[in-house]
Symmetry: C2
C-alpha cells in the first residue's frame, strides 16, 4: 500500500515514525510543514523537518519530542553571556543541522536536496519531503499583532489570543518535486495528529496540493482528545477562532477533503456526529507514549485504510 | 601617552594585551585587521578581532593563542557526522560570538558597534576597533590560484607558494569611525609583531590610514626572529616573494612609515643595517611566553617610545 503522510511537529513525527515501522521505504512518503521555518542568527531553521527527521533517525530527545537526545547547550550558555536572544533553544548538536543546512542552501541546493542528504547521513530510508522548496511563512494574527509562528509559539509561548492565520508566500510557492506525484499515485493520504491550523493547513495552502487531495482517499487523525491538545495550541486556537475544540471540530475543519477519520476512545461519544459528516471512523487509543504505541496506532490506521480501499 | 596599536592575530593580540596592562583605557586604541574576515555557514567570522578580544578578556585558549579556553566541540563533532566542512575549528562557545555578531549585523549594527558591545560584555575596557566597517578581503595569490586568507591559512595550512596579495574592496573601504582620529591625535603608533603581508598591510590599505601614519611616530615590532616567524607564514611569505626573511626585511617592508624598530636579541647582528635605514632601535627579548612577558615587552616599547618623543 502506498501512503503519503502529512506531518507537522512532535505528534506528526511520532505517527510518521510509526508508519515507517510498518511500511517499506517505497511505500511511504512523509510531507512535512515548512511554514514554521525561520531565519535565526542568520541560520535557516526548519523545526518540523528536524523533529520528523530526528524522530525517524532515533536521535530525538525522548522527553521533549523535539531537539536531540543527549544534547548539550554550551553555545546557548555563551549566547546568554552575550545578552543574545535565547528564546529559541539551540542545542549544540542541533546547531550543526542548521549550520550545514544554511551552508548547502547558500551553495544552491534546494531544501528537498538538503533534506534527502541529511536523511542519508542519519540512516533514514523513508522519503521525507518539505512541502515546498520555496519560502512560505505562517503568520499568526493575534491581539499582539502579526507574529511569525516561532515568535508566537516559542517566544510568546502561544499566550497571545489568535484571530486568524495567513501563509505568506503561499501563492508563489510550488510543491516540492515529487509531492504532487506522490499524492496522486498513493492509495491513501494520512493527516497525522498535527495542529490543523498551523501544521496541516500550511501544507494544504501550497498550490496544487489541495486539488491533488480531492482525488485521493484521505484519513485524518485527530490531535484533539477530550477537547484538549496533548501538546501545543491546537485546542486554544479552535476556541479563540470561536469553535469549541473537539474531534468533530477537527473533522469539520478538514471538511470534504476527508474520507476517513481516526479519533480517541475518550471522544467515542462524538462518533455519530462524525459519521453524519459521511466519514468512516476508527476509534482507538491515539496517545503515543512509546515507540510501540506509534507502531500499534500506525498498524490500526493502515488496517482501517485497507478496509476502506476494499469497500 | 596616547598609543594606537595595529594588530593581527595571536602575536598582535599578545602585545596588545601587554599594552593594555600598561596603559589606561583612554591611552590605548587597538586597531585590528579584518581582511581575514569571512562568511562560513552563513556566519560572519572575524578571526583577528576574536583573537584580540578573547586575549584581552582573559578568555583565550592559552595553549593555542586563538579560540577560547575551556572550549568544547560538540557542534563541530555533529558537523563532522553530517560530512560538513570542518577545516575551520568552530568551538561551541566561539560559535556564540559568530552567531550574535551575525544577528546584530543583520539588524543593521556596524562591526564597530558589535565589537564595542562584545567588549562591554567581556569586561574589556580598552578600545578595540576593526580597521573598517566595510568588507575587505585579503586574497593570497598562490600557485594553486587565488585563495581567501582563511582558505590559504587554515584549509591549505599555508602550504601553497605565495606570488602576491591583494585586498579586495580596499578602494571602497572607509576607516572605521575614530580610527583616523586616533592615529592623528596619538603620540605613537605601534605595529604589533603581526604578519606584515596579511595582518598589517591590509590595515595600511584602508584609504586614509597610510596617509595618517605618515604624520605619526610609528614603531614596528618584528615578527621575524632568527629568520623565522614564531607562528604562521610570515617568513615563508618573505622567501616566496623573493626576500630573505629577517628583522631588517620587516623594517624595509614598512619603509619610510617607521621611525623606530623593535627586534629580538637573536637578530642583534642586524642592528647596523636597520639603523642605516634611519631608524632608532630597541633590541630585546620579543618572544611573549607568559602574560608577564607581554607586560615586560610593552613596558620596554613604551619607554623606548617615550625616549623618541623626548628626542
Amino acid at each position: 500500500m502506498k501512503v503519503v503522510a502529512l506531518a507537522g511537529g512532535v505528534g506528526g513525527a511520532k505517527l510518521a515514525d510509526g508508519l515507517a515501522r510498518c511500511l517499506s521505504p517505497d511505500e511511504l512518503t512523509i510531507v512535512v510543514n515548512t511554514g514554521d521555518d525561520f531565519i535565526h542568527f542568520g541560520l535557516k531553521i526548519c523545526p518540523d523537518l528536524d523533529t520528523v527527521c530526528y524522530t525517524l533517525a532515533g536521535i530525538a530527545n525522548p522527553e521533549t519530542g523535539w531537539g536531540r537526545g543527549g544534547e548539550t547547550w554550551n553555545t546557548l550558555c555563551a549566547l546568554e553571556t552575550l545578552g543574545a536572544p535565547t528564546w529559541f533553544q539551540l542545542g549544540d548538536q542541533d546547531l550543526a543541522t542548521h549550520l550545514e543546512r544554511t551552508r548547502r542552501l547558500a551553495e544552491g541546493e534546494t531544501l528537498s536536496e538538503v533534506t534527502r542528504f541529511f536523511c542519508q547521513r542519519w540512516g533514514i530510508r523513508h522519503r521525507v519531503q518539505p512541502m515546498s522548496d520555496d519560502p512560505m511563512q505562517t503568520i499568526v494574527e493575534t491581539d499582539l499583532g502579526d507574529l511569525s509562528f516561532q515568535e508566537y509559539f516559542v517566544k510568546y509561548r502561544f499566550e497571545p489570543s489568535v484571530r486568524g492565520f495567513r501563509f505568506e508566500g503561499a501563492a508563489q510557492a510550488k510543491a516540492a518535486p515529487g509531492v504532487l506525484e506522490a499524492i496522486t499515485s498513493c492509495d491513501v493520504v494520512i493527516f497525522c495528529p498535527s495542529n490543523p491550523w498551523v501544521s496541516i493547513d500550511p501544507i494544504l495552502a501550497v498550490p496544487g496540493i489541495r486539488q491533488a487531495l480531492l482525488r485521493a482517499r484521505v484519513i485524518a487523525v485527530s490531535p484533539i482528545i477530550g477537547g484538549k491538545a496533548l501538546k501545543g495550541p491546537a485546542a486554544k486556537m479552535f476556541s479563540e477562532i470561536g469553535i469549541p475544540p473537539s474531534a468533530q471540530a477537527v473533522a469539520l475543519h478538514y471538511g470534504s477533503l476527508l474520507t476517513g477519520f481516526v479519533f480517541d476512545r475518550l471522544d467515542a461519544g462524538e462518533e455519530m456526529g462524525i459519521r453524519s459528516l459521511g466519514l468512516r471512523t476508527l476509534i482507538t487509543d491515539t496517545v503515543m507514549k512509546s515507540p510501540a504505541d506509534r507502531q500499534r496506532l500506525a498498524t490500526q490506521i493502515l488496517t482501517f485504510a485497507q478496509q476502506e480501499l476494499l469497500s
